[in-house]
Amino acid sequence: MSAAQVGFGSPQPPAGAGRKRQAPRAVPAPRPHPRLAGAAVVLAGAGLGAVAALAITGESARQLAVPGGLLTFAGSLTGMVGTYLALVMVLLVSRIPLIERVAGQDGLVRWHRALAPWPISLIAAHALLLTLGYAEAARSGFWHELGVLLNRYPDMPTATAALGIMCLIGVISVRAVRLRLPRETWWLIHLWIYLALAISFAHVIVLGPAFVGHPLTRLVWSLCWAGTAGLVLCYRFGLPVLRSLRHRLTVAEVRAEGPGVVSVILAGRHLDRLAVSGGQFFLWRFLTPGMWWQAHPYSMSALPQPPYLRLTVKGRGDHSRALARLRPGTKVAIEGPYGAFTTYAQQRPKALLVAGGIGVTALRSLLEDLPRGSAPVVVLRATRAEDLVLAPEVRELVRHRRGKIHELTGPRDQAAIDPVSLPRLVPDLQDRDVYVSGPEGFVTDVVEVARALGVPHESIHHEAFAL
């Protein structure tokens, strides 16, 4: 059966009104466990408190009173907390399933970006404060003391190099600089953080006052680092490679769906064992010259129909535009599935799905997970009617589920979604979770409208497509 015959129209709706679907298709993604994820967060917080306490218990009141004592203590504290936060940064983007299923990969990346200034500035402060403290105690100058530190203490040159790498990564990640760098260059330099962390490990264990003479502390610290490395190797690198090898995806067909929008249909093995939920996305790596070094996130635009898998993409940047020129047979590596934009997140009995432009792709696959009779309301918003891609499929899926679809086309002032128009379209908003998907600005606006209309935070789910 070729891809063209599969059609990827509306597949069989789930049988049984209100019951969990029993459709013969790919396995759903494992259920998220928010409580366990919450416990992991508490654990991470405990580690933070513990390292701060370690730095504090390493000092006595009298040590603070001597020249340089306060600076040395501050240097020790900032070093411990900063390094711990650096580990947390790595863990946030290690795609650990327990956390990722609850927070979503996109959410974790947001937190990673928000947290970033802290470990970098704390560790830079640590270096500065310690040098100043030692210099004051020895009554020597800052630069002289810096020389002493680098020459006399073991593992300091590598630690300094590690700090340099961290600061470089911080600098290139500033928005103004990042936009000027080619994406590959930024990414390659960013990966050096693994190297920086590896080479700075020694100086902490060998020189840190909390560790010298405290074998238990050393053991626990080492285990934390080994554990982090293990998690990274396993979930960030290992699992995606294994999945790609197991499913052996290749491009089967590239189809035009609308102006600037193409669907890429992939064929692969064992797709009946690929555990995904509607609304999730993958990072796709097309193994062809010019594209193989980049993995880009795109939502699935339908649940897998073994042996086929589909994504639908709007050509906005170089990579997405290049998808239209993909040749059948091109191999594809995947990372994922990721995303918490699924029916597992649903709190209320019914759902409202709002899509802006290409955001319809995530909702199209999410719809398949809604059981028959669940009566969803779907709002599709686009500037022009021809931008409403996949609309026929969505209409049929909605019809099978006894829902309603509203297609709003036209310029913003004529077809807006605001606190006045939305309740008219959706009178029973208080019974519905809101799923919003589309460009960032659109998603922010609709989420604001939902909040203004009293939809609680836990019932709003969003997937913003960044450029």
Partner: protein, 159 residues
């Protein structure tokens, strides 16, 4: 995960208090309050590592007269080990400094200490007090030395 920041805070408090609660200073002698004039505050365990440099009477200007009083300052824990300094005073001068107790966690600190202690001894004798420079590269050792000396001086009401 809207409650995540609060969970982090709760965990941080728990972890912080937990470590504080579990933390035990290595010897009970550290942080001892000044006792009687000749109180022996250091632990009676003989130091396994010998590095008592500069033992014996003062090498500085000997104009001191009168009976000598000796006090051993408390053992100062300094992260890489601990040390206590025994101070001898004659009249109004510091005349002797020895280190009866020094324990270091590993060889590097041991080496630093054996290099730093003679220097520190001379510094204290010249300054006749603890307003001394730390030895470059042995900051923690110097601080512990000075602190122990100062505590001993306080016990003797030395000015």
């Amino acid at each position: 995960m809207t409650k995540a920041p609060w969970l982090m805070v709760a965990g941080a408090v728990a972890g912080f208090l937990g470590v504080l609660g579990l933390h035990k200073p290595a010897t009970p002698a550290s942080g001892a309050t000044p006792g009687a004039a000749s109180g022996q505050a250091s632990s009676p365990v003989a130091s396994p590592s010998a590095s008592s440099a500069g033992s014996g009477p003062a090498t500085g200007p000997v104009t001191a007269t009168g009976p000598a009083t000796t006090v051993t300052g408390p053992a100062e824990q300094y992260g890489y080990g601990e040390l206590a300094v025994r101070v001898t005073i004659r009249g109004s001068r510091i005349t002797g400094l020895t280190v009866p107790l020094i324990r270091t966690a590993e060889p590097f600190s041991q080496q630093l200490a054996s290099q730093a202690i003679p220097v520190l001894r001379n510094e204290v004798l010249s300054a006749q007090g603890t307003n001394i420079n730390a030895v470059s590269g042995a900051t923690y050792t110097s601080q512990a030395y000075a602190t122990s000396v100062q505590a001993a001086l306080d016990q003797l009401h030395f000015k």
